[in-house]
């Protein structure tokens, strides 16, 4: 089964839950944590470590922090051999959930955390531009120096300072 089909299945399971909003939030947060942790990713990508050991490690870390259903979804993902594709699954699940709610998912990268007011302004600006509701998937990365980058499907609005510096460098080197 491809990651997209698996992600759709996960979304269906989450949607059928009575506490879908919380489970969705927890599930995506766990995936974000795992994706941002290089050591954890190395463990999951190591074929020498049996799947049950990986599940055991996940359980010991998150069992007291998330609901049992969220933990089950994570365990299912690992046991089905998608430990290498956690980033794709996070992205696809986010997209499908947003679509299910009739919204588009905007992946946002910024150097600093966006406060609620800024998030609302951004949603409003994107809605007026694209004509549909927007849900944000936020990521903070200090290496981008400053500014913000928004990706929705195939479209990207890049206002990162690191991108501008890269463009300037390309122009200067091209002279």
């Amino acid at each position: 089964m491809g990651t997209e089909s698996f992600s759709k299945g996960l979304v269906e399971i989450i949607s059928s839950s009575d506490d879908s909003v919380k489970i969705e939030e927890e599930f995506l947060q766990v995936l974000q944590v795992l994706n941002s942790n290089t050591e954890a990713l190395d463990v999951f990508r190591n074929f020498g470590i049996p799947a049950d050991k990986k599940i055991e490690a996940i359980s010991s870390i998150f069992s007291k922090r998330v609901t049992s259903m969220t933990l089950d979804l994570i365990t299912l993902t690992i046991s089905q051999g998608y430990a290498d594709n956690l980033s794709d699954i996070e992205q696809q699940v986010s997209n499908y959930i947003a679509e299910k709610r009739g919204a588009a998912l905007a992946k946002v990268i910024s150097a600093v955390e966006l406060n609620d007011s800024t998030q609302n302004d951004l949603k409003a600006a994107l809605k007026s531009k694209l004509g549909r509701d927007i849900e944000l998937s936020l990521k903070v990365d200090s290496s981008v120096i400053g500014g913000i980058k928004v990706s929705i499907g195939e479209r990207t609005f890049d206002g990162l300072l690191s991108s501008k510096f890269s463009d300037i460098q390309t122009v200067l080197e091209g002279r």
């Binding site: 531009k129 400053g146 609005f157 206002g159 510096f165 300037i168 200067l172």
Partner: protein, 181 residues
């Protein structure tokens, strides 16, 4: 001695005098004519034909020699003409060889000059190209250094941005996105 003189005088008196002294005696004349006729006959009959034959043979021999000499002369002339032709041909051949040699030498000379010109042009071109490449490399290196320096300065400035500056940057981005088409 006195006796012999006497005899002579006696005979002189008996012989007569005047014209008779000059004319031979008749018997002598007849004998002389007969002897002449006999001699003439022998000469006419045998000596003259033999002489004529000898002379004719001699003339024929001379004519033959002359003809032979003329033939030899003609042969010599022909040989000379042939030799002259051979010499002329040889001269032509030599001239042709010289001309060909000159042409070949000229061609080789032109090829050498042309090759030398091409080599010189290639050297000049390579020197130009090397110079251009070096110029390009230096320019690229300077551009890269300027770019790195500019980037380093910009990043340093950006890194010292306050939270307010960061927020302003994000707000401006959102505002620009709203106003852009």
């Amino acid at each position: 001695m006195t006796l012999n003189l006497n005899v002579f005088y006696a005979e002189a008196e008996e012989a007569g005098s005047g014209v008779d002294l000059l004319l031979p005696a008749t018997s002598e004349l007849v004998a002389g004519v007969a002897a002449f006729a006999i001699v003439f006959f022998f000469v006419w009959k045998w000596a003259l034909p033999a002489l004529n034959t000898t002379l004719e043979e001699r003339a024929a021999s001379i004519e033959g020699q002359i003809e032979a000499a003329e033939a030899t002369k003609a042969e010599a002339e022909a040989t000379k003409a042939e030799y002259a032709k051979l010499v002329s041909d040889a001269n032509s051949e030599v001239q042709k060889i010289i001309d060909e040699g000159k042409a070949a030498a000229e061609k080789v000379k032109e090829e050498i000059i042309d090759q030398a010109r091409q080599d010189a042009e290639a050297i000049v071109e390579k020197a130009k190209s090397d110079s251009e490449a070096e110029k390009e490399r230096l320019s690229s290196e300077i551009s890269s250094q300027v770019a790195d320096l500019s980037l380093a300065i910009s990043q340093k400035v950006a890194a010292s941005m306050s939270e307010k500056d960061q927020q302003n940057l994000i707000d401006k981005f959102i505002k620009d996105m709203e106003t852009s088409s």
